[in-house]
Symmetry: C2
């Protein structure tokens, strides 16, 4: 219901599902979130029907392919987890002989999107890059100028707002910065902790970020 | 409903959800699948309430911790994806400087289970190891004699039945071999493709595997 309302209001909805699987199971997830499912011979629209979905790359390319194919087919988007926001992110993502795992993942996402490039030079396949690792974000942007970034970690998780400037492409686009908890829980910082001022506090906090981001882009 | 029936029949139910997330979201997933959730101040039992859940390690230890804690607290189990069954598994899982990623993951799972060791010397935290990579399975068993293995990839995916022998611990236990599609779709190989003989074909195929496995253990 929330998804329907947001889409009716002209917003794109990204589901941070971090899904991952292979062959028939991956196809079922992809259809279930992005397009339509087949039950007992009947085709039903996806219950979720979101515009983009995050996926986890641990299984490699054949775990991502069903998601990417379904996204391209239906004009939806996929964001592959590359550099996550959390403290343990480096444990596995910084491994790698010639190249770190998170860079290999970004390269894979870029390659897999090549047959879905739009007029903007961007594709249906982007990556997730945490704002809590600004150096890695800068490195990835230099290496992949056209890759779409979904950037969590700003706000509650303490990501670096200033460093976001380096996350955008040369055209000032190419990055979607996501702030969730700091906006939806903004009311808890005020005098009213019961949430009666939820909408107002959330709106004010969202405006605060909006102005910050515009400021970054204007420089 | 299927889960309830299986549990009432004395079976343990393992959900292959491959879930992964951090902090509050990971806790919510862990509770939602394994124990109980809190909605608007009310505590409700988990809709799923399975006995064990598979999780994806791409986020590192702090992505696994909420799942492990919830499992230990409620006598449930967690299986961390280490070596998956699919052809692209090596892309990311074979990376690593001193040690391959899938071995690091197995070590992490072993470490995280140390404060939940039971009388058997096994813990609430195991790993997923695909039967399609028998050499890696053998290596992991030698390295981690007490770690519980969940082994998919036998049957439809063509995993090596003979090699399963090396997957068990010294006591002939420690490995759960899972065969799904080859059993539930066994009826499609027979003359009746409409599924009227589903139960019988599935039972026969399951017996076939059961005898194979007993044969392996008797050697």
């Amino acid at each position: 219901e929330t998804i329907d309302k947001a889409q009716a209001g002209g917003f794109l909805v990204i589901l941070d599902g971090k899904r991952n699987d292979i062959s028939s199971s991956a196809e079922a997830y992809a259809r279930g979130y992005l397009s339509e499912i087949e039950v007992a011979g009947e085709v039903l629209p996806s219950f979720w029907n979101v515009d983009a979905l995050t996926v986890n790359p641990y299984l490699g390319e054949d775990g991502l392919r069903p998601f990417v194919q379904e996204a391209i087919k239906h004009g939806k988007g996929i964001f592959v987890l590359a550099r996550t926001t959390n403290p343990s992110a480096a444990f596995l993502q910084d491994e790698g002989r010639e190249e770190k795992v998170f860079v290999k993942v970004a390269q894979l996402a870029w390659n897999m999107g090549q047959n879905s490039l739009g007029e903007s030079g961007r594709s249906s396949v982007g990556i997730v890059v945490g704002a809590t690792y600004p150096e890695d974000m800068r490195f990835l942007r230099e290496r992949f100028p056209g890759l779409l970034f979904l950037i969590p970690g700003v706000g509650t998780q303490g990501g670096d707002l200033e460093a976001l400037q380096t996350s955008f492409g040369a055209d000032g686009k190419g990055a979607l910065v996501n702030v969730s908890r700091d906006i939806i829980f903004a009311f808890r910082e005020g005098p009213d902790r019961d949430g009666f001022r939820f909408a107002q506090e959330a709106r004010d906090r969202a405006r605060f970020y909006q102005q910050k981001f515009w400021g970054l882009l204007r420089r």
